[in-house]
């Protein structure tokens, strides 16, 4: 038995000779993605992941892991396996040919008009 200065460890009566086997599939709960909202009307932001056997439990865990500092007004939990995830190998699909200033805000020459309008005020 482990004897520790921390009485909680001693109370747990942990046997040193116990060999620990790795968990098998389904020995663990599945994961839920947790999103929180800072104030009503804001977008929900992803804040982390919890293990849980169902959505209700995922909520009670998510609330305490990520919402206990008083920064949230609302939480969503979503099963990780229900989230469609794009492949990092396909990261190139986010690249774009840079010579297209006609579709960037910088392509619009409006500052002159804005300054003129401001002066007019």
């Amino acid at each position: 038995m482990i004897k520790s200065l921390d009485p909680r460890i001693t109370r747990a009566e942990i046997n040193l000779e116990n060999t620990i086997e790795p968990l098998r599939d389904l020995d663990q709960w599945e994961t839920y993605e947790v999103f929180h909202q800072k104030k009503r009307g804001d977008q929900h932001m992803h804040v982390g992941i919890v293990h849980a056997p169902n959505a209700e439990m995922a909520f009670i865990f998510g609330k305490e892991q990520f919402g206990r500092r008083g920064l949230s007004v609302n939480i969503w939990v979503v099963k990780t396996r229900d989230v469609y995830v794009s492949d990092y190998e396909d990261s190139d699909i986010y690249e774009t040919v840079p010579e297209k200033n006609y579709r960037e805000a910088g392509g619009y020459k409006v500052m002159d008009k804005i300054n003129k309008f401001k002066k007019g005020l």
């Binding site: 009485p7 909680r8 460890i9 109370r11 747990a12 709960w29 919890v50 293990h51 849980a52 056997p53 169902n54 209700e56 439990m57 009670i60 865990f61 609330k63 305490e64 892991q65 206990r68």
Partner: protein
Amino acid sequence: MNQNTTDAIKELLYKMADDLLIIGHRNSEWTGLGPILEEDISFSSMAQDKIGQAQALYVLLNELGEQEPDTVAFMRNANQFHNSQLVELPNGEYDFSLVRHFLFDHADQLRFEALANSSYEPLAKVARKVKGELKYHVFHGNTWFVKLGSANEESHNRMQAAFNEAWNYALGMFEPSKNEDLLIGEGIFEGEETLQEKWLANITPYIIKAGISIPSSETWKPVYGGRVGNHTIHLSPLVEEMSEVFRYDPTAEW
């Protein structure tokens, strides 16, 4: 406020604060040892909430002339505590801790809910402040209790056994005080009997949902005594451990 009323309020505050301090400490014993990481954090966080609620009540006692909160919490002996025996029992396995959490927190929530309209305004104020914390604690307790009560044979049997073990101690939470009439009469608190009725009505739907049976009422034997300082052998070691560091140097600045 006359002396009798002050004494009655103090008695009420002491039993509530001591319940919260002791169950907060007991529940904190799970820190680092909880069944899974997420639950470990949740249970520990709630334990801290309870210590905070206890502190708020010790502050009220201090305002009524009692000693500093730290002194009251850490310098008394076990027989000077007014907590119910339910909260001092050892944690046992997680099933017992969860059942106790479920039974205690329902009572605690209803007690504070009633006190939110208390004629003793300082306490009403605290009661309104802790409303959100208690709501979460009860939701947490309900979720685990129903889930494990009805998950599989092993979990059900464990929850039923823990429930049977806790039941008479839980009834002991409602030990009547000598000040019941005064507290009710002055609109300070609705009284233990009313509280117990409400508690029973509130927990019953979850107990049914969990498939747990309540012992038949002829067999009920509420374990009283905690409110007047009679405790099990388990409280003294808890108080010693809890106050060990404080007593080492009571004047230390933290």
